[in-house]
């Protein structure tokens, strides 16, 4: 009997050890809140989700996919083959062991590539500790398995060597299986389960699911709102936290981390996973929260997570801009923003523990339906000379123009005026809600004040349902996202279009004839709530191209664009960092050499215009278009004049 004959039994032992380890986590997951999971569909879709959706994300970092495909593929293949080897007739075949050796060889190649990512110096975003040591057991297992199987395929010419390599393989294999509960290898089992039981299955197969889910505010009894302890998360959220591979892509993409605010999405997710298990099984070995606030470190399934005594400091929670860059980057499809909003909901709804400056807009929301405490009747004051039609006065219109909070802001008004003038020039029939337009509630919801959001949502849906129009047009991506994706849960399904898409339509249809604005290089900053949340990255670019402007792309653009720092209530929570997010983003814009940053969101406009010093000019796409249309009108007039007989 050759040493290799024991390899199948090693796999059986590893499965048993891993099952025992992961069972301890399964018990933890089961103490989460219930969640409806379509297991059948999830399991059926699992291979596709793993091999296509996950691979697409992993593959953005080529060194990661080149490392992971052979490592995981070789490991799974070798284990599967070895399980087949439990049949004695097959195990007697030398060809069979040749195949096993080949699988181990593939895995060895993967481990070599992994080693090159981590030694001599690991990528700065990677976690060290057990993760840094992981290539050692993986490598020993792969190489030992290879040598053992290879010798067996040759007829075991060196029995002593095979026994030695079998022992090494066994030690490494059992070590890996032992990491399935608390160590790095947890990601394999938890990750697969997470893909099957994902809380947003719509995300896979090219779909999108970015809306926050409502919570039941009138739940009977004294059920708490939001998440205070790990047990308050749905079970599949706890599972998601365990799936983290600590690759740090979220951290590298996080604007708050870059600005030195005390947030790292990776650290937060690992904290949440550790909190469920009652603290860290081994110390966290990634980058600390920048300017980390001291915390007590108390943890447990029923211990508060966010508190100066717990694992996560409140400042960490309030640093997030909800830009979803972390979610976009995460190869394990973890939903960081959902977790942060759940935690915020508890702080806001149950403890009233919002940062002091954030209480003011929330109080204004409660009293006046508007975060700045402005009278709703004043919303159209900026356009007093433009004779806006108001729905309440019996106007019927194809397009309902949702003005949003920008109508109260001097800078936002300039954009809106450009948009309205362009609409008039294109002969678009449109009307506004006037004083019946309440704020959409985006800010309240991101700050965790779900009660206020739901009240505003219901009121707005009721108002909108009274009127007949075919589309809602808005210049605010936050309002767009809320109206399009979050109001359906409150009974209002509307066709919402962003002004960049609408104006691009008008230009394509020839209803607007912009002249070419030559001689200016433009870089376009994608608003998170338009690009990442709604996938609209083409229309604004098409519009800029139609204006004949030279368009330069920033290093981070499209769906991987970087946040301006204006989302998620971050400007009102105002957690101090080393620098400001808009400064970083403006730096990236300046690096393109463009003289204009084109924006498509009033928040981005405000944040980027707040950057001091020499910088590119900030212009909304609507403003650029209107300038071009005016220039076109002048040219036309001049042409007509020139054609007239003297």
């Amino acid at each position: 009997m050759t040493a290799a004959a024991f390899l199948p039994w090693l796999i059986v032992a590893m499965v048993v050890v891993a099952a025992v380890q992961i069972a301890r986590r399964v018990i933890l997951w089961r103490s989460g809140r219930p969640a409806r999971v379509d297991w059948l569909a999830g399991l059926k879709a699992l291979p596709r989700r793993y091999l296509v959706d996950v691979h697409h994300v992993v593959d953005r970092d080529r060194s990661a996919s080149r490392m992971h495909v052979p490592t995981a593929g070789g490991l799974v293949l070798a284990c599967a083959l070895l399980v087949v080897g439990l049949v004695p007739a097959i195990a007697a075949s030398r060809l069979y062991f040749g195949l096993v050796a080949l699988a181990f060889l593939v895995m060895t190649a993967g481990v070599v590539l992994e080693v090159r990512r981590r030694y001599p110096r690991p990528l700065p975003r990677l976690s060290l500790g057990q993760w840094q040591k992981l290539p050692i057991p993986l490598g020993v297992f792969a190489l030992g398995g290879f040598v053992t199987a290879f010798l067996a395929s040759l007829g075991d010419p060196l029995p002593a060597v095979s026994i030695l390599t079998l022992l090494l393989t066994t030690a490494a294999g059992l070590g890996l299986a032992g990491m399935a509960g608390h160590g790095p290898m947890r990601h394999a089992l938890a990750g697969a389960a997470h893909l099957a039981a994902h809380p947003r299955p719509e995300r896979f197969g090219g779909g999108r699911s970015t809306e926050l889910r409502p919570i039941d505010l009138d739940a009977p009894g004294t059920g708490k709102l939001g998440a205070e302890t790990p047990a308050d998360f749905a079970w599949n959220r706890l599972l998601a936290f365990d799936a983290c591979v600590q690759c740090g892509r979220c951290e590298a993409a996080c604007p708050a981390f870059a600005a030195g605010q005390p947030l790292s999405p990776k650290h937060l997710i690992v904290d949440l996973a550790a909190a469920a298990g009652g603290g860290y099984a081994q110390p966290y070995a990634g980058n600390a929260y920048p300017n980390a606030r001291p915390v007590g470190g108390a943890a447990g399934l029923h211990a508060p997570i966010v508190s100066p005594e717990g694992l996560v400091h409140p400042d960490t929670l309030w640093s997030c801009t909800t830009c979803r860059a972390c979610v976009e980057e995460c190869p394990m499809m973890i939903e960081h923003v959902d977790a942060i909003v759940d935690l915020r909901r508890f702080q806001t709804l149950e403890r009233g523990a919002v940062p002091l400056k954030a209480e003011e807009p929330l109080a204004n929301f409660r009293g006046a339906d508007e975060p700045n405490g402005r009278a709703l009747a004043e919303r159209t004051d900026f356009a007093a000379d433009l004779r806006l039609k108001v729905m309440k006065d019996g106007a019927t219109a194809e397009i309902l123009l949702w003005l949003g909070g920008a109508a109260f802001d001097l800078r936002g008004q300039r954009t809106l005026r450009a948009l309205i003038l362009a609409l008039n020039a294109a002969g678009v029939e449109f009307a506004v809600l006037g004083e019946e337009e309440r704020d959409c509630g985006d800010l309240a919801r991101r700050l965790g004040d779900e009660a206020t959001f739901q009240r505003l949502a219901k009121a707005n849906v009721a108002t909108l349902s009274q009127y007949r129009f075919s589309r809602i047009l808005t210049a605010d991506p936050h309002a767009l996202h809320v109206l399009r994706n979050e109001y359906p849960a409150f009974g209002g399904s509307f066709d919402v279009v962003h002004h960049t898409a609408f104006l691009a339509e008008m230009v394509a249809a020839g209803r607007l004839a912009p002249a070419a604005l030559t001689g200016k290089a433009v870089t376009y900053h994608d608003p998170c709530y338009l690009g990442r949340y709604n996938g609209e990255i083409e229309a604004p670019r098409a519009l800029i191209d139609a204006l004949g402007l030279e368009r330069r792309e920033m290093a981070r653009s499209g769906r991987r664009s970087m946040c301006c720092g204006g989302g998620g209530g971050a400007p009102v929570t105002d957690i101090p960092g080393d620098t400001r997010i808009p400064d970083i983003r403006m730096g990236q814009a300046s690096d393109t050499g463009a003289r204009i940053v084109a924006v498509a969101c009033p928040q981005c406009t405000a944040m980027l215009e707040g950057v001091t010093g020499e910088r590119p000019e900030v212009r909304d796409v609507a403003e650029l278009l209107w300038e071009a249309v005016q220039a076109g009108g002048r040219n036309e007039a001049a042409a007509v004049k020139a054609g007239e007989p003297a």
């Binding site: 806001t348 149950e350 523990a353 002091l356 409660r366 405490g373 709703l376």
Partner: protein
């Protein structure tokens, strides 16, 4: 220290909707710092707005259901007289310093104190229990940032100044769970000459909490006097001559510097010290 906060029928200054007065949320903040079981008391027709007090830290709310047009004073006095006579009598009654509900007189705390024979201390910015049991130390806000510390024997009525500390931010969950005890107004409806007299005198500037404006008759609004044009000092013209070397003082001591500045301001008519305005 058992504490009660009077909650009025305030209107939001922008939207005009019923809401919880900001001043009263500050009163709740002060109350909660002394008594974690502080309760609110409201007499009126609707509780939707004052319920928010539960979200700012009140442990409970008593609502005396009166009709929209009724004067809340008898209901409040009746309830408080009962409460002061019973077990768990409130020792401290907090209220805002002004009404925020339109035509209100702002006199309710004073009238409540008068009817119940309690001392009243106005414009508190900070309160704490006194060293002697049964006393309260109140920091009052005075004009120009001055503060006065007074000690008052409990029970007492204290009104709260807008410069008192910010309250705990609103939380929806505690409001939802908070218990509201509803009471019907006391049967005895004493006639209230004092209210009628004072309310009748009311100008728009004098408003009361909780009266809902109902006992107030038509309000006399004295039209503002038309102010004739007055020649203002031409500072630009005079400053050139006044800014000569004679006015340059290097390193004077602070008292001297202050006197020189005041002299200068007076000499140029910017500040008329002690004189009545023309």
């Amino acid at each position: 220290m058992r504490t009660l906060v009077l909650l009025s029928d305030a209107r939001h200054p922008v939207s005009g909707r019923p809401h919880l007065s900001r001043l009263e949320t500050q009163a709740i903040g002060l109350a909660a710092s002394l008594d974690p079981a502080a309760r609110g008391l409201h007499a009126g027709s609707g509780e939707d707005a004052v319920r928010a007090g539960l979200g700012h830290g009140l442990a409970g709310l008593d609502v005396i259901e009166t009709t929209g047009e009724a004067d809340p004073l008898p209901a409040l006095v009746g309830f408080l007289a009962d409460a002061l006579g019973g077990a768990d009598a409130p020792e401290l009654i907090l209220a805002g310093r002004r009404g925020e509900g339109g035509f209100e007189t702002g006199l309710v705390p004073y009238l409540v104190a008068e009817r119940l024979g309690l001392p009243i201390v106005a414009d508190a910015v900070a309160i704490r229990a006194g060293e002697m049991p049964g006393t309260l130390v109140v920091d009052q806000a005075m004009a120009k940032g001055a503060r006065r510390r007074v000690t008052v024997r409990l029970p007492a009525v204290v009104t709260v100044h807008p410069l008192s500390p910010l309250p705990r931010p609103f939380a929806y969950g505690p409001m939802r769970r908070g218990r509201i005890r509803r009471h019907s107004p006391a049967a005895e409806q004493a006639d209230l000459p004092a209210v009628a007299k004072m309310a009748g005198h009311g100008t728009v500037a004098g408003r009361a909490e909780d009266t809902g404006g109902t006992t107030v008759g038509p309000v006399d609004v004295v039209p503002a006097d038309e102010r004739p044009h007055r020649a203002r000092p031409k500072l630009m013209r005079t400053s050139g001559t006044a800014a000569g070397g004679a006015n340059l003082h290097v390193g004077p001591d602070p008292t001297e510097a202050a006197r020189l500045i005041l002299d200068y301001l007076e000499a140029n008519g910017i500040r008329r010290y002690g004189k009545a305005p023309e």
